[in-house]
């Protein structure tokens, strides 16, 4: 029996108080996610239960009980406080998926800081714009990533501490650097957890838009209410589950469901900190007897590509429930998983700003492969006309997805960018920026983004950021960046480039520019294809018409070209 039981009954009788009651939270009381994810589970008698089973790329395994989680997060909280870091200071986590990332997140929240996780593959430019916007006080990182921070330290006078969790004792630390060894650190039995309340800021995640710099999405401690209940009703987390969320906590799934949802539910979570290989993933499931697996369409399609033969080598009978997030899950992938695992991956739809799952397929519900499913109980979602912003009266119409604001995990603002935040609302609806339709049974069907943002492997990449980076390359005169279809990643970055006089397009220049962007921004943002062209299509006022290039890549109609410069 699934946790949600009857979807229709839940919708009828829904109140967020259900989660508040289960978490023993009363409005106005202290609510601290760090405490809920560690101390509370221990107080409930599960201190010795495995909380985190971590495996590194060399096969090394580390295990942490809930009591270990409590003590180690106390240690990190105490260490940060000792450095003079104050409540609401931003503390960046810039690490691979190592235990210090998961436990550090809880430690930051326990001392009242705002956790700012950043993807460890970010290049120095991507890192700098996000740290600069947040005016980050401290960064917790590994020695392998420290050089990228050192490169930009000079430009960040507000950054007081670079904390290295695996510093080499033989090498002297530089100015503002400090070592922290979680294993050797004193682990205080008692730690004064900062009294955070429902609206106290907790997490700052950065996300990309079409224009402008990345936006810092501010979440608060009350987000726990949605994250806990969606973990219970959608991911169906149960006390005996061995859970694997493959997302990196540098992105929102990795924190909302890879840390908060998992640990506040008291399940045992496994983490594999290694690059992708189908063999290794199936081995990991078999070894740890994973029962609930939350992954992404990109990974699922990569597994499909690896073929069905490899699956036969492993016993995957422990798998009980599968879910997917990041980009729409195509019907072929749903049908494939049903064929090879005996159960479908259930698609879940949400985004950094929503903080928790919004529209989804539920355990026990009739699954329509390729559909996003239905709104979570308590979430009012619909599709509205893109110009009038009024909901459609009939089914099947394509429009903008719109959600009534007010659920617990919704972002509270964009950091230092209230103006852009306000633009996300129209006619009383929050607009995630996606288009879909609703069928006559209330199922949502994803159509696409409503802007130029590229969704590659479930991560959003801003064409503006890539174009800006391209322009810094000495050979590039102008650039336009669009999404290109891709079987595994759904979309990848494609750049159209015009060159400065004296430069000629070549295979070597192509590779040089790719690597230039990869190092500056991230591997996700690196154009997987560069096309050198003589001129870019522009409006008569000189604005580059990405729409035309996008249509060309997708084999679509170009549409109205009346404003095209050379028409």
């Amino acid at each position: 029996m699934s946790n949600i039981g009857s979807y229709d009954e839940r919708v009828k009788n829904f109140d967020w108080k259900i989660a508040e009651k289960e978490l023993d939270y009363k409005p106005g009381n202290i609510i601290n996610i760090g405490w809920y994810c560690s101390d509370r589970i221990c107080e409930k008698g599960y201190g010795n239960k495995p909380a985190l089973i971590w495996e590194g790329s060399t096969g090394v395994e580390k295990r942490f009980t809930y009591n270990d989680l409590r003590l180690n997060s106390n240690a990190i909280g105490q260490f940060l406080r000792g450095l003079g870091i104050k409540p609401e200071d931003r503390v960046c986590l810039f690490m691979d998926k190592i235990p210090e990332l998961y436990i550090g997140f809880l430690g930051i929240l326990k001392m009242g800081g705002i956790a700012q996780p950043l993807f460890s593959a970010f290049g120095d430019e991507s890192l700098f714009v996000r740290l600069d916007n947040a005016q980050t006080t401290a960064i917790i990182t590994q020695k392998k990533h420290a050089p990228k921070v050192r490169k930009i330290m000079e430009k960040m006078p507000y950054l007081k501490h670079l904390i290295i969790v695996d510093a080499d004792p033989a090498k002297p630390l530089l100015d503002r650097e400090v070592a922290f060894d979680m294993e050797k650190a004193e682990k205080p039995e008692k730690f004064d957890i900062h009294p955070t309340y429902a609206e106290s800021p907790s997490v700052l995640h950065y996300t990309s838009g079409t224009t402008g710099q990345p936006k810092g999405v501010k979440h608060v401690h009350y987000s726990l209410i949605s994250q806990y209940l969606t973990s219970k009703w959608v991911l169906d987390l149960q006390n005996s589950d061995i859970y694997w969320c493959t997302a990196d906590p540098g992105w929102v799934t990795g924190t909302s469901y890879g840390i908060i949802g998992a640990f506040s539910s008291g399940v045992t979570q496994c983490v594999l900190d290694a690059g992708f290989s189908a063999d290794n993933w199936y081995r990991f499931i078999e070894k740890h007897k994973i029962s609930m697996w939350y992954s992404a369409p990109t990974a699922i399609r990569s597994l499909m590509k690896a073929g069905d033969e490899v699956i036969k080598k492993y016993d995957l009978s422990s798998l009980r429930h599968l879910a997917s997030v990041g980009e729409p899950l195509n019907s072929e992938a749903v049908l494939w998983s049903e064929k090879v695992f005996g159960k479908p991956f259930l698609d879940t739809y949400w985004q950094t700003e929503t903080g928790s799952i919004m529209i989804t397929n539920f355990p026990g519900m009739k699954i329509k492969p390729g559909s996003m499913g239905k709104p979570f109980p308590g979430i009012t979602a619909t599709v509205i006309h893109p110009e009038t912003f009024e909901p459609f009266n009939e089914t099947g119409k394509i429009g903008l997805i719109a959600i009534k604001p007010g659920w617990p995990a919704m972002m509270r603002t964009y950091w230092r960018n209230e103006e852009t935040y306000q633009k996300k609302f129209k006619n009383g609806w929050y607009l995630p920026g996606d288009r879909s339709s609703i069928d006559n049974e209330g199922y949502f069907w994803f159509v696409g983004r409503d802007d130029d943002v590229i969704n590659t492997g479930g991560h959003l990449v801003s064409p503006f950021e890539v174009e800006s980076a391209l322009l810094e390359h000495p050979a590039v005169a102008e650039s336009a960046v669009v999404a290109k279809p891709d079987f595994v990643n759904m979309e990848v970055v494609k750049a159209f480039v015009t060159l400065k006089p004296g430069f000629t397009g070549s295979k070597d220049l192509d590779l040089e520019i790719m690597n230039f962007v990869r190092k500056k921004l991230s591997p996700l943002a690196m154009p997987q294809e560069i096309e050198f062209i003589d001129t870019l299509p522009k409006t008569r006022s000189g604005k580059i018409m990405r729409r035309i290039l996008h249509a060309k890549e997708w084999g679509e109609e170009i549409g109205d070209t009346s404003t095209l410069e050379d028409d």
Binding site: S57, K144, K148, G275, M526
Partner: protein, 80 residues
């Protein structure tokens, strides 16, 4: 040690290793998290440019790119 092994290893260190991690010809590149799946595209492009070959996409798997030695074996299949 042959020339191809050394060229590829030097390139991987230069482009993808951020610290002083030592690399052998058998170090796991993809499963070891040194080269991620997105960056594999640029590594494939390097090999194609350097050796004037075209590696079919279905042969450019994480397994085939998982060490310098495995990459060399793959490249040799296409070098005339």
């Amino acid at each position: 040690m042959d020339e191809m092994q050394e060229i590829i290893k030097t390139y991987v260190i230069k482009e993808y290793v951020e610290d002083d991690t030592e690399l052998t010809y058998d170090s796991p590149l993809i499963s070891g998290g040194i080269v991620d799946s997105f960056s594999m595209v640029s590594l494939k492009r390097f090999l194609e440019n350097k050796y004037n070959i075209a590696i079919p996409d279905d042969k450019a798997t994480p397994e085939a790119f998982d060490s310098v030695n495995k990459i060399c074996a793959l490249v040799r299949e296409y070098v005339k």
